[in-house]
Subunit: 520 residues, 2 copies
């Protein structure tokens, strides 16, 4: 259902429950909706109406949640900006979307001066931070207080809800247009694998709100009339402390974050007994990390989601039933699960013909969760959205029971001597060595084979292994042509995207300087 | 998701599981989808394509399920006809929809001669019965065998899925146009209150497939990749026997059917221990019947749905958590529950302004589950669908936690001496008398008060009560002006609609001959 309708339903069913908790500030659902209606009224008074774009550049806060509801309430379109972007990328997306209003928090208010002249479509800048409002900006709280309550604009299923930019760390960001229908389909499809939740429910929001994973958190919380306990940004220590302090029942994280939590010294001393549901996705989950998480949190159920922004974002899920270490359902931990009720998922060849079960091909998705297209990019839209299918760019295979295994990004696949090598498989083999903490496998140029398998390794603290031994270890687990030909040890962390994904292209770049990869 | 996409997903996830069981005939999902594709191919060879209407006049069968998927698979539109209708009503709906193909089973093949001349749009009649195919009709099995498999037409969210006629027992039937989006929203919204279901799942389908409740069963079963155990029609004895024979885990019934089950002498001797989920709706559930059902089936969880065809049909649900006789969640058994995640539900006055909590008004519904409109009836559409809201014609109130209480059809409300009397409240009072088995309360003309409250009673076998005592019993439970002024005892069953609803208008008619009710 439309974002605003979910908010109104939450108010009806849980008027006195908390909608948001942010530091010491709490808002009950009734107050939350009242503020949302006033914010929408304020936007209306600025001349904002049906289909106008509103950009947000901010760390997480309760205000981000209010804006998330207020923008469609006013009939307008959300444009959340990536907090990791350079100012040039911000300028690009603001201009590309033609945003009329920009909301910034304290962290980004300072840099605004540098770009203000370059974003002429922006008529007003609203300061949503906690510090004093800078000159030339409107104070968020004053905006809420001085505006009158507007009735919900009543956006319908096919109306544009938001433009969510992807990419941007390389090449120009693309604005994924999601409708209220697609966001709701992903939300309700995603919730169809939830265990039964009873009583008051709270969600810890530690993934960035600009990212579709954060949007997904908000959609779940709104639909469940639940409380969102919001952190400005992810910090492993704060996540642990917050779960204990607020007796948090559900959390959504990306695998890198889960790995960080599990290695914290304070883990064993923290009371995590309240946790009932851990949702994760957005990048592959190493099986070892998952096994450890299942053992550490025996009362918690796990759901893995697979998808991408273009499908709002959930397409498949590995349900709690398959997050087990023994019994008839065991053995699926490497799978991204099965198609959710909101979509079809297929593995196809380059001609769009479905591959036999077990054979790797490109994953495509079609359903009520698919995007409307890329904003202002008809060619890119036509390339990705064909006959209703979103072509994901992910390589994967499916088993006889419909479980999907994502093996690689097609562009990260290594073609060595004519054989396809999936980096995930090699990484998984390396990670099984007791000395290895993290591992990234890329293709590097090779005069004979085209590409050679290259592993970049971060060792566990105090552990040692030489390249030869690690390669020998891999030979015991996977075919010879898949094993690393060269190994690089690294001590600094891997470069990550805003969503916590390793930026393989950045790791690959120095090796390919002046050359052209076939897939790039 | 579109009906056909759900079928394809079921095949992917449960290829060897049974899709349908009908008598001794079983079909696995792979075979089911193969037959659906061939049926669609057959329709295609008859010239059927995008948006063409296909009418079905049949008792339940596995073939009805195949047709339910095959019609959208061919890009066409379902028009299920009410099996209780007169031939004149069938003719009306076939002509109104302009159906090009008609499918009939044995029960309706015989009557076809009488109407064949009157339905010129019908180009082909397919015999889906078990007996020999009558002259002039195409054999269903031959049609499946001789046709080649067609690729799914890929109907999208806003495409018309079916025209579902309502009414018809009085006045002209109205064709409710439901999209794939609206049917999926109701299905997935409805499933959001399901308890966690693990392992193979089967559904007993005993409600008629032409009715939206039957459609809802098919949608649930498709979405869950479950097995449908199908009965041609409801029979209390067969339902009990089938639950025991097939270890049925879920069933969808209307309250009248549940009451019949609970009064069967064979109940206590039947093994119902497999039953985990009982869904019910389509008419008010007397609390006494519900309490008895909860006691008789301690391992079964219950969900009540409220809605109507115009919302595909689910709008609210009383979830399993509130089907309890004690504890903090007790006391909600008279409620139809809360708005599902697919829609907003409000109680409004004649001006469309929301009523204060606890005050009776008209129930309206807006969400992704709302109909596209009435087929060929722009005026009726404009009257019912206003600003995106479906005005239900039901009177109800809402409590502070968003629980809805449906008190009456607005047209069944009795206005006596200027006071509104809700028949359900009076019926509930009468039903609390130990001698009363069933009760219907209607308004009859009264010279002083306009209308007077009149109760029609069916006593339990062997029980006796005189009118004065029953009226006195009501005075102990409800306000004086709500109590029946007159009582009529009846031995034959109440007239029921095809969906098992009591036809109050028919019971009221003899009293109002030659007069005009204010609301009719």
């Amino acid at each position: 259902m439309g974002i605003t309708q979910s908010v109104k339903r939450a108010v009806q069913q849980n008027p006195n429950g908390y909608a948001t908790i942010f530091g010491t500030r709490t808002r009950r659902w009734t107050e939350f909706a009242e503020r949302v209606g006033r914010l929408a009224g304020g936007l209306h008074s600025l001349g904002i109406g049906s289909g106008d774009r509103i950009a947000i550049l901010s760390f997480n806060s309760d205000r981000y949640f209010e804006i998330f509801a207020a923008v469609p309430w006013a009939g307008a379109v959300l444009v959340p900006l990536n907090i990791r972007w350079s100012p040039a990328e911000d300028v690009y997306a603001i201009n590309d979307s033609g945003a009329k209003v920009l909301l910034v928090d304290d962290a980004f208010a300072a840099m605004l001066g540098a770009i203000r002249e370059k974003i002429p479509s922006v008529q007003a800048v609203i300061h949503m931070g906690e510090d004093a409002t800078p000159l030339g900006m409107t104070s968020y709280e004053q905006f809420v207080e001085s505006s009158s309550f507007l009735q919900d604009a009543g956006r319908t299923a096919e109306d544009l809800a938001g433009i969510f930019y992807t990419g941007g760390t390389t090449g120009l960001p693309k604005g994924v247009m999601l409708s209220h229908r697609s966001l709701w389909a992903s939300t309700t499809g995603g919730m169809s694998v939830f265990p039964t939740l009873t009583g008051d429910f709270n969600f810890l929001v530690a993934v960035p709100m600009f990212h579709i994973a954060g949007v997904c958190c908000a959609m779940f919380a709104f639909t469940l009339s639940a409380t969102s306990v919001i952190l400005p940004a992810f910090s492993a220590e704060r996540v642990l402390a917050t779960i204990a302090e607020y007796r948090v029942r559900a959390v959504c994280l990306v695998p890198t974050m889960i790995r960080m939590l599990l290695t914290l010294p304070s883990l064993s001393a923290t009371d995590l007994s309240s946790l009932r549901l851990m949702l994760y996705g957005a990048s592959p989950m190493p099986e070892q990390t998952l096994r450890r998480a299942i053992r550490v949190l025996p009362d918690c159920r796990f759901i893995q989601y697979y998808g991408q922004t273009e499908v709002s974002p959930n397409a498949t899920a590995l349900s709690p039933d398959y997050h087990v270490l023994e019994g008839p359902n065991a053995g699926k931990l490497e799978s991204a699960g099965r198609a959710l009720s909101c979509c079809e998922v297929e593995v196809v060849n380059a001609q769009g013909i479905e591959m036999p079960r077990g054979t790797v091909g490109e994953i495509r998705i079609r359903g009520f969760n698919t995007m409307l297209g890329y904003w202002n990019k008809p060619e890119e839209t036509a390339a990705t959205l064909r006959d209703g299918w979103v072509y994901t760019g992910d390589a994967g295979r499916m088993d006889e029971e419909g479980f999907l295994y994502v093996v690689d990004r097609i562009k990260d696949m290594i073609v060595s001597g004519g054989e396809n090598v999936y980096s995930i498989e090699v990484e998984s083999a390396c990670l099984q060595h007791p000395a290895v903490s993290q591992c990234v496998v890329i293709g590097v140029p090779h005069s004979t084979w085209g590409e050679a398998v290259h592993a970049i390794i971060i060792l566990k603290e105090g552990e040692q292994v030489v390249a030869e031994d690690l390669i020998a270890h891999c030979h015991r687990l996977i075919a010879g042509y898949k094993c690393p030909r060269s190994i690089e040890f690294r001590s600094e962390p891997f470069p990550l995207s805003g969503a916590g994904k390793v930026l393989k292209r950045q790791l690959r770049a120095p090796y390919w300087e002046g050359r052209q990869r076939q897939v790039n």
